[in-house]
Assembly symmetry: C2
DNA sequence: CCGGATATACTCACTTCGAGTATAAAAGGA
DNA sequence: TCCTTTTATACTCGAAGTGAGTATATCCGG
């Protein structure tokens, strides 16, 4: 069995939420995601990345999962040795420092994807985008119907409803339609801040994965401080999903999952009635899937 | 930015369902998954694998998704060039040929994971396994509680319920406890047929992914023939999940999703009342997520 | 033409979920 | 002091979804 030779690099999407804003760790003043070679010394990909993040940022890395492995990138390595394989990871960090300060640069998700934040209603930029997409749909009659379906579904048009999980599909559609630029060469008008190479696509992958995951695994707590109020928790989820949630129902959801417990203390920093503080029930719930079966089981 | 050098290989978990039995394509008479080097000529990982499967098996590959990228494997390449990165994929095939015949070898999933098939009740082998696991739990008092929780959760003991999605967790627990052997050296007693290197673990990853996926994406239809009866569809899902389903509720579930339509024909090959034939509504539903939001949204 | 086998259709109680309303407890200014 | 604002917390109700079981239809073979 022969084995192909390739260059291997690790790319990290490290996210935190501070001040109700989801942020990602960047290098080059926000132009690229942190990345590095896959070193021989590392025990494993996961361990290698974890080590590297601790050294670079000082923050311990709570949650880490593999995102995707790319090799079909425009910029392949030019020498004869082969091409580059990029293995991307999603990591969650409890960021403490003030945003913008410190060594690593933290930038808001929605700098890069302004159309993804619907907390204050659908952003104005969306109308521009869907308008441009309609032009793209009409531009090729043969594929018109298919494109229309994809756009309607991804952007919640034509009877469909906005689904926050589809950020990657939205980005890929915009990419196909030429509405976003990767390499920094602004053609006419493009939407959102761009990044080095395909880093913005990788960020979109990470955001989409995290938005999907918070619905069935208790990963939000990796982003919360030790104790927190229910409103803080809700605003963190809202920041990630880019949506506003129904407060009473959010609270019902949380406590029927029994993921948190009262600390017994309260805080009155919020202006109104003091809020109870809660903590995540670590020990009890390490391994717990929240997903129901969704298959209609039968007895015996 | 320096880039580490590594060997890259692709590994495929190709599955089909024939005769109500889920199968995986193997080489070496069932001892290994098909794999090959990542060639320079390939446009992308995905395209390369698709091409390769078509050449090798003759069957077109319907669905293909990336599973996981491993580098932390026991057997690293021994030469100085670096280590091996294995990129694994899950593919779904409409197998036509008789099982066992033909060039590629198809082997049943449950040869490798006999404890995962609960269609005829919890298999007897499960009692053996959980018995051995109890020994492993007791063997280290310091980690007893944690291990007990993991085992209870993964195997549906102590109040928890069996969850078919947790096949990978189950395999990893058994691996930790020394109940399965990878390399073919049978120590005392081990469970299920083993495979080359970590191929059985990769298969477990593929099975777990597919079992989870059929619940929220219409991927089963990639395994069905052009037209099929509802019972056939149900038995295929049951084969994958390793569970029996409640017939009336399964039918209700299927038709409220509006994923299929009647062909107008019927078949009486089944012995009883003739069954209507259905087909998957391809065009209309290319892009359709079945997952509901699960977040309690608010208006405006 | 009757029983066995399979397919299909309907019912019902119970739980979950979307949506709205009501009460409680702080801060601050009139 | 008390009233308004602000935030937190608690309760209600109908619609929709889900688990579980029962009833009817249509074939085959004796």
């Amino acid at each position: 069995m022969t084995i192909g030779l390739a260059h291997a690099e690790l790319i990290a999407v490290l996210s935190a939420v501070t001040g109700d804003e989801p942020r990602v760790m960047t290098v080059r003043s926000g132009d690229a995601l942190p990345s590095g070679p896959f070193e021989l010394g590392h025990r494993s990909l996961q361990a290698g990345l974890r080590e590297w993040v601790r050294d670079q940022t000082g923050h311990p890395l709570g949650y880490l999962e593999q995102l995707y492995t790319f090799a079909d990138r425009d910029r392949t390595h030019e020498d004869a040795e082969g091409r580059t394989i990029s293995i991307s990871y999603l990591g969650l960090v409890r960021e403490q420092a003030a945003p913008g300060a410190g060594k690593p640069g933290w930038h808001g998700w929605y700098e890069y994807f302004p159309w993804e934040d619907h907390r204050r209603g659908g952003p104005d930029i969306l109308a521009d985008i869907t308008g441009r997409l309609e032009g793209w749909i009409a531009s090729e009659p043969a594929r018109r119907e298919h494109r229309q379906r994809r756009v309607d579904f991804a952007f919640g048009l034509g009877g469909a409803v906005w689904n926050e999980d589809l950020g990657l599909q939205r980005y890929e559609l915009m990419y196909e339609a030429g509405l976003v630029t990767e390499a920094g060469c602004p053609p006419a008008k493009s939407f959102g801040r761009s990044m080095f190479a395909d880093h913005r696509r990788i960020l979109a992958t990470g955001i989409a994965r995290l938005r999907a995951k918070i619905k069935y695994r208790p990963v939000v707590f990796e982003l919360m401080p030790e104790s927190f109020t229910l409103s803080q928790l809700q605003r963190t989820v809202e920041a990630l999903a880019g949506l506003t949630l129904h407060k009473p129902n959010f609270r019902r959801l949380i406590d029927q999952q029994e993921l948190i417990e009262e600390t017994g203390e309260a805080t009155s920093e919020t202006g109104g009635r003091p809020a109870k503080l809660f903590r995540y029930r670590h020990a009890v719930l390490e391994e717990r899937a929240l997903s129901g079966s969704k298959l209609p089981l039968s007895r015996n």
